[in-house]
Symmetry: C2
DNA sequence: CGAACACTTGATGGACTTCAACCACGGTGG
DNA sequence: CCACCGTGGTTGAAGTCCATCAAGTGTTCG
């Protein structure tokens, strides 16, 4: 998938552009507030006043979109270097919820201060805009996957994506621990958890990965990628 | 530029915030170039250099995400007041393609000029940022729908959305002509065109709408909305 | 230790896809 | 003018994949 010089895999090039931000400089304009999170803790609820963005310093969170009739949809997972809350920019209240999957730490960036900082630091403005655009591309890649891939392929694609994100953070792309439950993966991939479970064991049977609950070992990276693309085999 | 108090229905509040832009003012900074489009004409192809955003002045276009293996996914439809190309901000090349569904006119806004204009006009910067965030919310709403609704409900939801967009443009929300083929609707909704066709006739049988090919009359707005939400009945 | 939760696996049914035929419309050219 | 063809849309029948229901295993934590 050339098409795009860098950003080859648009889903991995994601908002992590924010990771290399100069926080010392930023702190001159914005009072950065640290928050520790425990597993299952809400960072913010849909409907709460939108007042800040959040930079993930450690841990993993999920964002959940919910309808008034109770339907819910996991729209993404965020790790170190990712920005949270950007989807609510321009609103008075958060459009979705963010929940920690494990303990971790986020840095709160009050939005009004960010706005003024953006005027002083064109670089910051550019990064924020880039993060927003990147989020759109990530979502579109998701649409493509969910709209065109079957269950096994979606799960394979998800694993390839997770591996790439770990690699980007300096961890192993070959061996990692999933941070989310099967239910969360399933919801994100528009499947049921039983289907995800079966897909995982199938990928295991095919010797593409070795799974044991949340522990994943990538045995055949190329094969997994082939599966993640539309390849029938 | 209100910061939109409403946006209850995030899918309809969309990027049209750009519609009320002061183009006379903008023209001082940006050379706005008009382009006529005919049906099926590409405004830009994925992979082409990204150099401008486009404001839709008339007509309707679809944006299409494509994978190297040939899979493709319609990620949205754009009408008057909508902004095109924002998903490629931060890249050198367009991340997706944009195709006209009928004849129309778009206004090209060269991106470098837009960037400098944004420095001079904070209002413009705010609108661009808001448009990006709104696009994310639209995409997340789509994810929620595709992830949780069955075929009939998705089609109902789509029609409610289209009706709202027409209403916003001053047209009838009760009687309109769809601009896209069944295949495009189906692709967008992650279904097959036969399924969309069947869903449409089912909604017709239920007296929620009256369909004849692309012509749609909304007979029971409340019922259609109920169907579009997760209501079983 | 036991209860709650997460995950796996099996059996069944249903919703959507696939394949196929048919119809309606619009344009073209004989 | 109308036969002809291509495209888009509808409808039917059969097949497939995933959801659902259900049971059972493993793990974690009070």
């Amino acid at each position: 998938m050339n098409m795009q010089a860098e950003a080859t895999d648009t889903r991995t090039a994601h908002a992590a552009a924010f990771a290399d931000l100069d926080f010392d400089l930023l702190r001159r304009y914005v009072q950065v507030i640290r928050h520790k999170l425990t597993a299952d803790q809400y960072l913010y609820h849909a409907g709460q006043p939108f007042q800040a963005l959040y930079f993930v310093h450690s841990g993993c969170l999920k964002t959940v979109e919910l309808a008034d009739d109770g339907r819910d949809q996991v729209t993404g997972f965020r790790m170190r270097g990712d920005l949270l809350g950007i989807e609510s920019i321009g609103l008075r209240q958060h459009a979705c919820s963010a929940v920690a999957l494990e303990q971790g730490e986020v840095w709160e960036l009050p939005y009004p201060a960010m706005l003024t900082a953006c005027r002083e630091l064109p670089e910051l403005q550019a990064k924020l805009t880039a993060a927003l655009a990147e989020q759109i591309r990530q979502d579109h890649a998701w649409m493509l996957n969910v709209g065109t891939l079957n269950a096994e392929q979606r799960v394979a694609s998800f694993l390839v994506d997770v591996a790439a994100r770990y690699a980007r953070l300096g961890y192993s792309a070959r061996h990692f621990i999933l941070r989310m439950r099967r239910t969360d993966m399933a919801n994100f991939l528009a499947l049921k958890h039983e289907t995800v479970s079966r897909a995982m064991t199938r990928l295991d049977d095919l010797r593409l990965i070795a799974v044991e609950r949340r522990e994943v070992r990538v045995l055949d990276d190329a094969g997994l990628r082939r599966m993640a693309a539309g390849c029938a085999s």
